[in-house]
């Protein structure tokens, strides 16, 4: 299929982009890496009058660390995150997770800002930002907003971003010496959207979770920061604590049925992932024993 006719302009700066967005409102779409937008245009699922290409705005690109905060520009490509020593050091969860995002050709073009603004509930990066307690920085003509990642995503392909705002960066605290992280997703093939996934980070004090953030994805209309983690913190995890946490997780999930999985299968796999995560982070395989015949 061929896209409907549209106008195209390349913004020279953030200010320029914001002026264009203010002028055209929801008639305009921001083009970043194009890895979700271009297929949608070709399938005529989306037919904006104007594409505002932000690819030339170099101030939106790059990774930096200062004062314990890691900042990733919106135009930073997946491949750059994958290869960045700063990311590997300060947010190793992202290094691990990004390898699950699609395939090299897509990672070479796709950007973190594009992925977050697109807000596919089955994609990896939104859940990572939740798991890492990140702040999503957006800018409009009236200034900047700093939004907690957990508050940013509001539904399938929906965020608090207004049509006149631009996602400019994502910031997160750097990993501490006692930070631990876990990432896994169940997908039919490498690079597919997850059936269920989990991006988690925690603070370990000895064998106890002082903090545990569980960012589940593909379990509902948006990534979920599981409140059930409260059952797992503050004291050594027991099998019964884990069971309570799994039950609590089940209660807060609202998964969709689709071709890959029923809602019940998603709940089941999310519980398994929780056990796998806890067992891995604590180095206690008995908490995630495989079913035996």
């Amino acid at each position: 299929m061929k896209a409907s006719a549209f106008s195209y302009t390349r913004a020279s700066s953030v200010t320029d982009a914001l002026d264009l967005l203010a002028l055209h409102g929801d008639q305009a779409k921001v083009l970043s890496g194009g890895q979700s937008l271009m297929p949608a245009l070709n399938l005529r699922l989306s037919a904006p009058a104007l594409l505002v290409d932000i690819g030339a705005i170099s101030e939106l690109r790059g990774i930096s660390e200062s004062n314990g905060v890691l900042k990733i520009g919106a135009l930073t490509r997946h491949v750059d995150i994958l290869r960045s020593p700063d990311i590997a050091k300060h947010a190793p969860l992202l290094t691990e997770a990004i390898a699950y995002v699609a395939h090299p050709a897509i990672r070479n073009k796709g950007t973190i800002g594009g992925s977050l603004a697109h807000a596919d509930p089955a994609s990896e990066l939104p859940a990572c930002t939740i798991g890492l307690d990140a702040i999503i920085v957006v800018r409009g003509r009236n200034g900047e907003r700093r939004i907690q990642a957990a508050d940013f995503f509001t539904g399938i392909y929906e965020t608090v971003l207004s049509p006149e705002e631009l996602l400019v960066a994502v910031e997160m605290p750097v990993a501490k010496s006692n930070s631990a992280h876990f990432f896994h997703e169940y997908a039919r093939r490498k690079g597919d959207y997850a059936i269920v996934g989990l991006a988690a980070s925690g603070i370990l004090e000895g064998d106890v979770f002082a903090d545990l953030r569980l960012g589940f994805f593909a379990v509902g209309d948006r990534p979920l920061l599981a409140a059930a983690s409260k059952h797992l913190t503050g004291k050594p995890v027991t099998a019964s604590m884990l069971a309570d946490a799994q039950a609590a997780l089940d209660a807060e999930l609202d998964p969709q049925e689709d071709q890959q999985a029923s809602a019940g299968m998603r709940r089941y796999l999310a519980r398994q992932l929780m056990a796998r995560c806890v067992a891995t982070l604590l180095g206690r395989p008995e908490l995630d024993a495989r079913p035996r015949a």
Partner: protein
Amino acid sequence: MNDSSEKQSGLSVLDRPNSYIGKTVPRPNLGRLMQGRGQYVSDMVLPRMAHVVFLRSPYAHARILKIDATEAKAMPGVIAVVTGAELAKVITPWVGVLSHLKGLKSAPQHAIATDRACWQGEAVAAIVATGRALAEDAAELVSVDYEELVPVTDMRTALDPETPVIHPELGDNLAFERNLDAGAVDQAFKDSDEVVEAKFVFGRHTGVTLEPRAVLADWNSGEERLTVYLGTQAPHMVQNIAAMHLGLDEAQVRVVCKDVGGSFGIKVHIYADEMATLALSKLLRRPVKFVADRVESFNTDIHARDHVCKARIGVSKNGTINAFEIDDVTGIGPYSMYPRTSAIEANQVINLVGGPYTTQNYRARTRVVFQNKNVTCQYRGVGHPIACSITEGLVDLAAQRIGMDPIEIRRRNLIRDDAYPCGSPSGLKFEALSHHASLDKLIAMMNYDALRAEQAELRKRGIYRGIGIASFIEVTNPSAAFYGVGGARISSQDGVAVRLDATGRVICQTSITEQGQGSESLTAQIVGSVLGVSMGRVRVILGDTDNTPYGGGTWASRGAGIGGEAALQAAKVLRKNILDVAAAILQAKPHDLDIIDNAVVDVQGGQQRIELHELARVVYFRPDTLPPGFQPELMATRHFVPREYPFAFTNGIQASWLEVDTQAGFIKLLKHWVVEDCGTIINPQLVDEQIRGGVVQGLGAALYEHCIYDERGQLTNANMADYLVPMSGEMPDIDVGHIVSPTLDGELGAKGAGEAGTAAAAAAVTNAVNDALSPFNVTVTEIPLTPRVILTALGRI
């Protein structure tokens, strides 16, 4: 036709110095394709060329009440908007039946639906414009009033009295039924110690060619001739069909097939939208191009499989298999596909079940039913994966029931290697198969006993791995028994013309076609070997009804065995003719001369006498120097079709080694082995890669590929994100071994290898999964084997 002196000496025309037979040599077309200089239909541009886009029914079953194209016709660049009724004035409808499939019925199908759409995706109007995007813009403005009709979607209830009949004039939704009862089945089951039953379910899937279907039709009203550029496996078949339905003589239609990006049987048919494109070119008197997009491909490329089969096997405690019985049903969409029909796959299932085994007791029924989904037809391995999965699944279940190793039960029941020629209860004739040699080789390749030990050790640690074995037979080199006897004008013979040009190089025209499998290479290898000419000096021309001999093309694993034999015979004649000329020039006797390395040499001593380019110079430019009355013939044509056997059966065996994650339901393929016997191997690398590619398509069916329709007949995953093709990340290493039993039906001895990989891959995987899960007392007989299927079987969800 065989040269007996050569046979007796043990040297065939292929066992010659510098022979390319049995050697891995680079494909002649590699450079062109790797440099992006291939020419696919979508690359082609002709003056005044228009693009057609089809508006397709969003409903599985709906009456077309009214089509209003007023707005669309006013759009920029739009040349015409044509409805089915308007196009029907230019092209006649067809009915996809063959007389040897007794009782097969179907309804007339139009190029574009006239009053009723019978599947979601059937074209209801054509929008022709100067560009594809403009045509799509206009298509959005064509308004169609539909009256939605009740769709028939579940094949299991398609024959129930309360189910609506899709074509009332046919009386019911049964397209075809075949029953077979051979031997003494009831007695055999009565005499069995154990009878094991299972229901096998096969998902619908499709071929997903990298290059979608594409056609460019050019009606030249000055010549009154239609040139059809089409990525097809069967140019002459298309020529015949196009002429017949457009009211033309065959001589008025030329079909040209340039590079083709994969076919797998998808492109051996002629589709309604392609026929519509030809008709539009004639109607509008200008070139019209149609290129299916990916969504259209999923909705309209033929689908395949989609069978549900209840089956049972009777076995004695000593491992003897006493009988097979199957009751199969398949849904084929609203029409039997034209011209090869949609009953062939079910017919093949009946033919092939139990085929590797000795038992002669076999009862089978298949029912082929209409439904409001896309049409199904022949796709790589037609019927084989189904028959193999049923047979091998039953054999493993029987072995499990009597506590026998899967290898042992096969050893006791596979037809002995010295038992040939022999036949199957369904009437198949086997010339020479090698089931036991193949089994022995497989066991050695996979180190079976060590693998079993490893499996047992891992199982103690809660790691569940499985070994699956699947023997198979494959139909190749089909004679007229496939289509010709049923009245289809689909040639089972092929022809090759070979000529020496004026510089001593060779031009070879063949009626087989190339879609990536190496037809061009194998033809050049054979011709070069027989003639004694370097392969680089052989140019092969394929895919042009004006410029190749008449023939069937490349499908049903026939290119090497039939087209290759024709090439061999044509080259033999040309070789003789060249030696006659050389003898005349050199005042020698032809049988004292040979051609080696592009030159005529003495048989004794090998001394070079005259180079071919010099011989050609004399023939073409100084014939006056040749003896009076001697007329050189430096072009020769031969045709071939196997006559002794209706099909050249091949055989083989596959094994899968995999791990099942019993917590999450995922299957990890660890290793796959194939031993196959395609007779003479012309190019080992091409054969091995054909086998591997075939295995990968079979693994796709086993684990991933599935056209998922909802209860309203909507295809819900018509895109590459939701329809999962097998990808390299999940594919195991595939080791390929060979046993060579040449067919004597021809001098080349080659049988087909195109479908062997697909035939048994899913059966091996399913058996391996059941082997892995045997400690859980779980049996799965449904593909694709998705995590949901596994978790459900394990009772986890």
